[in-house]
C-alpha cells in the first residue's frame, strides 16, 4: 500500500456525483475553442469502480526546496521575479468540509506583464528573465497549502476581437481518487475583467464563479514584503457507506 503521509485510515467510499449544472458545460460558444472540442453525445454514467476510487500518491520527497516559491525557483542567484509579491494560500477540502491531506497541487501563470514562458505565446509584453511561472506543493495534514509568487497580469487572447483574460493562476489538483482530478483557475478579488471573460462566463452560476475568486487576506500578508490571497479548493467528497453492500471488500 502506498504512503499516505497521514496516520488516518484511508477512505474508500464512492464519490458524490459531479453536479454538471454547476461546472461549465462542454459547449460554451462564446469561448470559441470549445465549439469543436466539446462532445455532443451524452456522457456514460456509472457508479465509481476501483479504477475511479483509487488514485496516485505523491510524496513530499518528490519536491524540491523552491517548488512553492515562484519568485525564486527560476531566478538567477540573488535575484527575484518582478511584480507585486503575493502569497497564495488556503485549504483543499472535500464537499463534506474535511481537509484533504497529502495531495499534489500544481500551479502555473503568466508573469506580471501577462506573458507566459511558452513558445506559443506571442504577446508583445516581455518575458521576465527571473520568472518561469510553475510551482507545486503537497497539502499538509489539514489540507493546507501555500506558495509565493508575483501577481500575474491580464493578457489579450484571440477569441473575440478584444478579449482579455482576467489576472489568474491555473491550478491542477489531485485528490485521493482519480475521480477527484480537477483543473481550475483562481481569480483575484475586485478584478473587473472577471465578469467580461468568456471562459469564466461558461460557468452558469454566479455563486460558482465567486467560488473561484480569491479574497485579499491582510492577516496573512508579510509587512513590507508580500500581500496575501486566500483560495480554498473543494474536491468531490466521499459517500459515507450507509447500508452499502460492497462485495469487492473496499
Amino acid at each position: 500500500m502506498a504512503e499516505t503521509g497521514s496516520n488516518q485510515a484511508p477512505e474508500a467510499g464512492a464519490f458524490f456525483q459531479r453536479d454538471r449544472q454547476w461546472h461549465p458545460p462542454a459547449l460554451t460558444p462564446n469561448y470559441k475553442s470549445s465549439v469543436l472540442r466539446s462532445p455532443q453525445k451524452a456522457l456514460l454514467s456509472f457508479d465509481n469502480t476501483l479504477s475511479e476510487l483509487t488514485g496516485p500518491v505523491f510524496g513530499h520527497a518528490m519536491l524540491g526546496e523552491l517548488d512553492n516559491d515562484l519568485i525564486h525557483n527560476f531566478a538567477r542567484p540573488g535575484e527575484s521575479a518582478i511584480g507585486e509579491r503575493i502569497i497564495v494560500h488556503g485549504r483543499v477540502l472535500d464537499e463534506r468540509g474535511k481537509g484533504v491531506p497529502g495531495v499534489l497541487l500544481e500551479f502555473w501563470q503568466a508573469n506580471a506583464g501577462g506573458r507566459y514562458r511558452h513558445k506559443k505565446d506571442g504577446y508583445l509584453a516581455p518575458l521576465d528573465p527571473n520568472f518561469g511561472g510553475c510551482g507545486r506543493t503537497i497539502t499538509g495534514e489539514d489540507g493546507g497549502y501555500a506558495f509565493r509568487t508575483v501577481r500575474p497580469g491580464p493578457y489579450p487572447w484571440p477569441n473575440g476581437p478584444n478579449d482579455w483574460r482576467p489576472a489568474h493562476i491555473h491550478f491542477s489538483v489531485f485528490g485521493h481518487g482519480f475521480a477527484q482530478r480537477l483543473i481550475t483557475q483562481m481569480y483575484f478579488e475586485g478584478d473587473p475583467l472577471i465578469w467580461r471573460c468568456p471562459i469564466v462566463g461558461g460557468i452558469p452560476n454566479k455563486v460558482a464563479v465567486e467560488a473561484l475568486i480569491a479574497a485579499l487576506d491582510m492577516q496573512s500578508t508579510i509587512p513590507m514584503d508580500a500581500l496575501a490571497y486566500k483560495f480554498d479548493i473543494v474536491l468531490r467528497g466521499r459517500r459515507s457507506t450507509l447500508f452499502e453492500n460492497r462485495p469487492e471488500g473496499n
Partner: protein
C-alpha cells in the same frame, strides 16, 4: 423551508488552456532547471512486473484535426490488477509501479506516447472482473471540464465481451471507440472529441 443537507460545492472546473505545459510538463516546454523531471513522464522501471507496451494516443477535434496542445493522464492497475493507492484494500501493488502517467500531445504531430505495462484485471463493484483497461483523463484549451474515458485492448476480446462497463453502452456501434488496436507491442488509440466517431466519455 426544509433542512439543508449542508455540503460544500465542488470548485467549478476551468479549461487547462493552451499553456498547460508550463505547470504540468515544464521540462517538455523548455522551462528547465525548476523541476528535476516532469512528474509522470516515466512509468516503468527495470524491476516493474508485466508486459511492456506502448500507447500511441491522439486526440482529434470535430473536424478530425489532432490537438497539438492537449495533455493526457493515465491511471492503471499493475500487472496483477492492483492499484498503487491507499484506497486499494486488496493487497500491496507492485512498489516499482506508481500506475500514473502524464504526457502532452506532440506540438507538431499531435501524438502522445506512453511506455507502460499491460494492466491486470480489476473487479467491478459486484466482484465480476472488468476487462484490462487504462483510465484516461484529457484536458486542453477548449475543454472546460477534463474528459474521462477508458482504453481497452483489442487482443482481449473475451474479457471485453464480459466487461460490465462496456456492457453499459447502449449503442453497440460505439463500443469500438474504447478499444485500442494492437500493432506489435504498441496500442494505437484515437480519441474523437466530437462527431460521428465520438469516443464514449464517462461521468463516474
Amino acid at each position: 423551508m426544509t433542512q439543508s443537507p449542508d455540503r460544500l460545492k465542488e470548485s467549478p472546473s476551468q479549461t487547462a488552456g493552451p499553456y498547460v505545459h508550463i505547470g504540468l510538463t515544464p521540462n517538455f516546454c523548455g522551462i528547465g532547471g525548476v523541476y528535476a523531471s516532469d512528474f509522470g513522464a516515466t512509468m516503468v522501471q527495470d524491476l516493474t512486473k508485466g508486459e511492456r507496451i506502448e500507447l500511441r494516443i491522439r486526440v482529434l477535434d470535430g473536424t478530425g484535426t489532432p490537438l497539438k496542445d492537449a495533455l493526457v493522464e493515465i491511471w492503471q492497475a499493475d500487472a496483477e490488477g492492483l492499484y498503487n493507492s491507499p484506497a486499494e484494500m486488496r493487497g500491496g501493488a507492485d512498489p516499482t509501479f506508481q500506475g500514473w502517467g502524464r504526457q502532452p500531445t506532440d506540438m507538431e504531430t499531435g501524438v502522445c506516447l506512453f511506455r507502460t505495462i499491460k494492466p491486470g484485471r480489476v473487479p467491478f463493484r459486484d466482484g465480476r472482473l472488468m476487462a484490462p483497461h487504462i483510465t484516461l483523463w484529457i484536458v486542453a484549451r477548449g475543454i472546460n471540464v477534463g474528459l474521462n474515458t477508458r482504453l481497452y485492448f483489442s487482443d482481449e476480446e473475451k474479457a471485453n465481451a464480459e466487461d460490465p462497463i462496456l456492457a453499459r453502452i447502449e449503442h453497440r456501434l460505439r463500443v469500438p471507440t474504447l478499444i485500442a488496436e494492437r500493432q506489435g507491442s504498441t496500442y494505437v488509440f484515437d480519441i474523437h472529441l466530437q462527431g460521428e466517431k465520438e469516443t464514449v466519455f464517462f461521468d463516474s
